[in-house]
Symmetry: C2
């Protein structure tokens, strides 16, 4: 193992350059959900392709899709060594509400050892780490320990709508032994962890329509259904008082975890008090009979992400509005089928629809089943060993409440599993104002990825 010091020396020398890389990348407002940013998505893809080319030895391509393009790069110069497909995404969440940011979301800013900006943690920082590691290997020794295929998409934050088609189409080109995902994140900055499951997702949006136009609520109030009243009643009908989902068939296929599995979760160093401190909520809340972590990782949810109608500006406006709107996403666990869940919710909305309004549902393409990494997967043990070596303590194996729809794609289309190896942390306010990334974790992540590739190469040779 005389090559490692060289790579590490190169990475150490490039500490500042790595940070500036991320600043440049995060300055591009690649908000995939917002049409006005479509050109910024192209700019971000081009920036990333250029960064990959700068590594010197990679074959780089930008792959168009029906939506935002994917960026692909490969190096296959390690015959006999395993091939890793490295996944990440260069698109980011909308930055709204803008007024809640302390510094502009696309002007990355350093405060207290953290870089603040939309997308720095999800997923531009974690994504850049393996790119920078590849660059350092090429500089230090002109080669990588294993074969790599980088696949970075631009639609993760809108449900990876076109990635399934792309992966199917490029199936041969993308063949690999496993996926290493640079998206995901550890659950705490202090304790190394390996995420071994992710919840799935199903999404829909609906509109209730009453009168053909907004009416004066004094003149017409009492005569007609108010779409806001109907919206509240319909949304309220989706949960019982404990927060359990009341949609018939919603829990179809969900299996109870074993007492052993539950006991393992119970042993994790998690406290409701610390969690409330972190989130600022005054109580935990949800389905009776499950701990907070169980509800986050292993129980399905139906969450309203947006609800609106009528006058929402300053002062008062006595309007009986024509329309009311809601956006919903569900998080799914193993056994649940996203299409079935969506169908059941739509049926519930129709069945419970209050009189005097009509319902229009817009189902979303944002859908993926839950994922679970097999316990015996070789990349799982390699990753655990590296984190143990790096942090001096064995990593916790944890679940993830969020969803990465491509996990299902990789499993179904390519037949391979995914190991999450991201250096983001769960508290970094992703999808919220003032998202940040801990600068020290750039270097930690680089060291970890270098060690991981070397270990995978050794194990590949042993196999």
């Amino acid at each position: 193992m005389k090559t490692l010091p060289d790579v590490q020396t190169v990475l150490d020398a490039r500490r500042d350059a790595s940070l500036v890389d991320l600043v440049a990348f995060a300055s591009i407002p690649s908000v995939s959900a917002q049409h006005q940013h479509r050109h910024d998505l192209l700019r971000a893809a081009e920036w990333l392709a250029e960064r990959l080319r700068a590594c010197g030895e990679l074959t780089v391509e930008v792959w168009p899709t029906a939506g935002h393009p994917a960026v692909y790069a490969e190096w296959l110069g390690a015959p006999g060594a395993p091939t890793a497909l490295i996944y990440g995404h260069y698109d980011v969440q909308p930055p709204e509400p803008l007024e809640r940011w302390n510094t502009p979301p696309f002007t990355p800013t350093v405060r207290d050892g953290r870089l603040y900006g939309r997308g720095v943690s999800d997923d531009k920082g974690p994504l850049l780490i393996p790119v920078q590691v590849a660059d350092a290997f090429f500089t230090a020794q002109g080669a990588l320990p294993i074969n790599v295929k980088f696949l970075f998409e631009g639609e993760e934050e809108v449900g990876s709508a076109h990635l399934d088609a792309l992966v199917s189409e490029r199936r041969e080109r993308l063949r690999a032994d496993f996926v290493l995902s640079a998206d995901g994140g550890m659950w705490s900055a202090d304790t190394p962890s390996l995420t071994v499951s992710a919840r799935g997702i199903a999404a829909l949006e609906f509109t209730l329509r009453g009168p053909a136009k907004d009416l004066h609520s004094g003149r017409h109030g009492g005569a007609l259904q108010n779409p806001l009243h109907a919206l509240a009643a319909l949304v309220a009908s989706l949960h019982d008082e404990s927060g359990r989902v009341t949609v018939a068939g919603f829990y179809d296929g969900v299996q109870d975890r074993t007492p052993e599995e539950r006991a393992e979760t119970q042993r994790l160093p998690f406290s409701d008090e610390a969690y409330l401190q972190q989130t600022g909520a005054n109580a935990t809340f949800g389905e009776a009979g499950y701990s907070t972590l169980e509800r986050q990782w292993y129980r399905p949810t139906l969450e309203l992400n947006g609800l609106w109608g009528g006058y929402t500006g300053e002062g008062s406006k006595t309007v009986l509005p024509s329309e009311a709107h809601a956006k919903i996403t569900c998080r799914l666990v193993p056994g649940q089928d996203p299409q079935h869940v969506t169908r059941q919710i739509i049926a519930h909305l129709h069945a419970q629809l209050p009189p005097g309004v009509t319902l229009e549902v817009q189902p979303s393409s944002h859908a993926a089943p839950a994922y679970h990494l097999p316990t015996q997967h070789p990349a799982r043990s390699a990753a655990k060993a590296v984190l143990h070596e790096l942090y001096g303590t064995p990593p916790l194996e944890v679940g993830m409440g969020g969803s990465i729809p491509v996990l299902d794609t990789f499993s179904r289309v390519l037949g391979i599993d995914t190991v999450f190896f991201s250096f983001a942390v769960g508290d970094e306010d992703i999808h919220a104002p003032n998202e940040f990334f801990r600068i020290e974790r750039l270097a930690q992540g680089q060291r970890a990825w270098a060690l991981l590739w070397q270990r995978l190469a050794q194990e590949g040779r042993r196999a």
Copy 2:
């Protein structure tokens, strides 16, 4: 009666000028609810004062208040004749949603005999009519048949917050025999009607707070109360399935109308089918046991005017939001006390508050009890006689679902009643996009006001 032809001749000759008056007035965006328009309120008050001065014989003053100013003008040159306090308001509702207007709200536009623009019907057109009539009387005969005191406020659309104090303070100056209100409106363009009651109003706004900041709904969903779920449950708890308000004490003091009164309402030429046609709703809806008109005019309501929280933009954003908001106004009937109603609603919100969120209520100053004009009032019979003469059919006596808070002020502080004498029509999309005023009703209204003043003078002399 040899003076009438002269006044009418003057009014006829000024037909176009009257319309252009209204266009100029309605071009000023005097939106009282929006802080950025405060200067436009001053401009509108100045424009109106200038228009009153142009009548030549009026004493005109602009009266400051703690909010937007009131415009006052008087002529007291008819000793022995009654004195009318003429009320209207120069402020307008917010024009939002702007994208639903066919032409810009503050660029008054003529289409098919109608003038379109925010405020043309509520209340700038109806307000200008008695001003133009006074101007014509002064031109034709140098005097008015009765004494007049014009009082035009700039805060009607935000609950006339400072008018009560102003009227109290200027009590002596405002003494009159009755109020003629240029605000209100007839319920149909074809049938003359006289509004003899108005519902009262009570208003409040509330915010639910959960986590201290927006969270990722995948990572945190299921662990904490979602403020949008709590909002829906809380709002849904305010009504039963038939639309009846479930707040304890809400109906305190409400009295049943007599079988005779109900039968009279039943005889009015109103059809649910035509009403649904007009509003575009697919069904009428509300408290069982009451007709649509009864629910509009004689039953109290609790209406949501706005409901919002989370992500409401294009695409999806998987957020568990920190806050959720609601705006409420109630319409009240005789016997209900606005403060009591507001207190009961606040108590209900606290009692029904779901776990995991905190409640902050912002009560509004927008409050007034309901109003009913005494059956035997002399100005009521004069107004009926004029409308009968003008339209060849006795006017219907109708209720009004909306509220005019100053009615209570005039009754309580000045001890006088109010006769609604507005030429707006209930279908003119006030408080909604594409508000309009029927141009022909400028001339009809002028003729009616001239006749009314003459009749009141005759009756005053007889008395």
